[in-house]
């Protein structure tokens, strides 16, 4: 139980913010950061803990977003139900892609390539299919009632985002302490050795991919409710695939709070860039690209890893073993 204490503390701290800060700009910024943290936590489970680097996590984000949007707009289904269905369908898509990829033994670069390709296929389909609104996109009707998962002020959205992030933290921590988590780490470190110890690598990877997709799909559903507009470039675009991997890598891949930490840093950098250079498109992503190269080159364990090396030896037991040494 004590290992869940840090999560409670962090969630409590985050939850208090709207009582101190009322600026919509700041809350909006934080909501986006939490969104990326959530999507990134999904990536983190598969990539950081599982060692399988997906370059197409937008596939799950977009699916979650489109499913909930389509259910509301075309079938009049309640938005909260849409959230659950969106997560479920996202998980299914993850399972499908995972089953195909892992059954055929795709690993490393090949796996990254195939995830990229799947995301692109979905983007192209969404840009021409009538059900997703093709080039025009989907607009969710404004209906500012809690039952419709829409709120007048930012604060309730913020708290829901905090709640979702908190849930993802609890889920990942639970996995860390489970047999599934131990097997996932083993598969990441050395798949052959894990297999020789009775680990069904395919099942483990598939499981990780499914849960990872579900978490990222949740972020997509939330996005749909927050912004009320989607098109193929937003839902399945590379921007999310990049953000979802950048946040955990910057914050520390394979660590619990890595995605949250990284998302905050990445978003702060993005906003700072926009502040100094105006709204010209592209520069913030340039900064992200440089950040990615820099972190990989100079601080491969991300912020969490860097802080861990700075921690005096006696306190190191607080960190997961993968970060304790060197």
């Amino acid at each position: 139980m004590k290992s869940y204490a840090p999560i409670v503390v962090v969630v409590a701290l985050l939850a208090v913010v709207p009582f101190i800060v009322t600026s919509n700009v700041v809350l909006n910024f934080l909501v986006m950061a939490l969104l990326i943290a959530l999507a990134g936590q999904g990536w983190n489970l598969l990539g950081g803990y599982g060692g399988q680097y997906s370059f197409g996590h937008a596939a799950f984000f977009g699916t979650g977003a489109y499913v909930t949007a389509i259910l509301q707009v075309r079938y009049g289904i309640n938005a909260w139900l849409g959230l659950f269905v969106g997560i479920a369908v996202g998980a299914l898509v993850g399972a499908a892609i995972g089953a195909l990829s892992f059954r055929w033994g795709l690993r490393g670069s090949y796996f990254s390539l195939v995830t990229l390709a799947f995301a692109e296929v979905l983007r192209i389909v969404a840009s021409v299919a009538p059900i997703t609104g093709a080039g025009v996109g989907i607009l969710i009707k404004l209906d500012l009632r809690p039952e419709a998962f829409q709120f007048q002020s930012r604060a309730p959205f913020y708290w829901i985002a905090v709640g979702l992030v908190g849930l993802s933290l609890v889920l990942v921590r639970a996995i860390e302490h489970s047999r599934f988590g131990a097997y996932l780490a083993a598969v990441r470190e050395n798949e052959a050795a894990a297999t020789a110890l009775g680990v069904d690598a395919f099942a483990i990877k598939l499981g990780a991919m499914t849960i990872s997709a579900a978490i990222t799909a949740a972020a997509g559903c939330f996005y749909a409710q927050y912004f009320l507009f989607l098109d193929a470039a937003i839902a399945y675009g590379p921007w999310l695939s990049i953000d979802a991997l950048l946040a955990p890598i910057v914050g520390g891949a394979g660590t619990l709070f890595g995605p949250l930490l990284g998302a905050l840093v990445v978003k702060v950098l993005g906003e700072a860039t926009k502040l100094f250079t105006g709204d010209a498109p592209g520069l913030d992503l340039v900064v992200y690209g440089v950040l990615l190269v820099g972190v990989v080159g100079l601080a491969p364990r991300g912020i969490a890893g860097f802080v861990a090396t700075m921690t005096p030896k006696r306190l190191r037991l607080l960190w997961p073993s993968s970060l304790r040494h060197g």
Partner: protein, 251 residues
Amino acid sequence: MADTLLHIENVSKRFGGLLAVSGTSFAVSPQGITALIGPNGAGKTTLFAIISGFLRPDGGRVVYDGADLTGEAPHRRARRGIARTFQIVQPFAGLTVRENIAVGSHLAHVRRIDALAAAEEVAHSVGLGSMLDAAAGTLTVALRKRLELARALAIAPRLLLLDEVLAGLNPSEIRDMVPVIRGIASRGVTILMIEHVMQAVMSLAEHVLVLAEGRIIAQGMPHEVAADRQVVEAYLGQGAAKRMMVGLRHD
């Protein structure tokens, strides 16, 4: 069936133009230590890969405890009680020794706490008790070999395949490892070991199989096999046995 734990029936494996294992058959009785020796390139590790499920044979069957395993996935075989170590050690470098072994213990224990506790016990039984919190990537070769052994033991195997577990160890490390292996066998685990360190083979093995060019050329007790002319020739070349005999006569 009670007499044989493992039966290799007419197994062959080809890699392109190379016939690594050709129509090999042998049986391993339960309990005790059997050594599989032979010159380099004889096909020993290939056989291990086939027994543990990492390679499919082109022909023949692997029968374990009466069941035909041919084609079964490696993780299923591990669950049946076949454990193996790798010739080139494969630690989970980013995990601690305890966590490494726990991956094996998890086969029998679902809860993390139980698996970690079981891992500690196994670690102590092979002399790794003091290294439990060390990162596997920082261990010396000798300790890595021991970790490899501990991990395999953690799945509570009935058949343990040791692939050159003494290779790369200096004489004192070998001396430390031999009683560990003997201890494992005394607890009822059947051991089939590939080994080049002859002193260990002679002192540990009750039964020796000699593999050369993909087939068994001799088997029996260690001293029988050592005196076998074909075995000498396989290692030292044709005519070597005769030359040795001539040499002896002149002494």
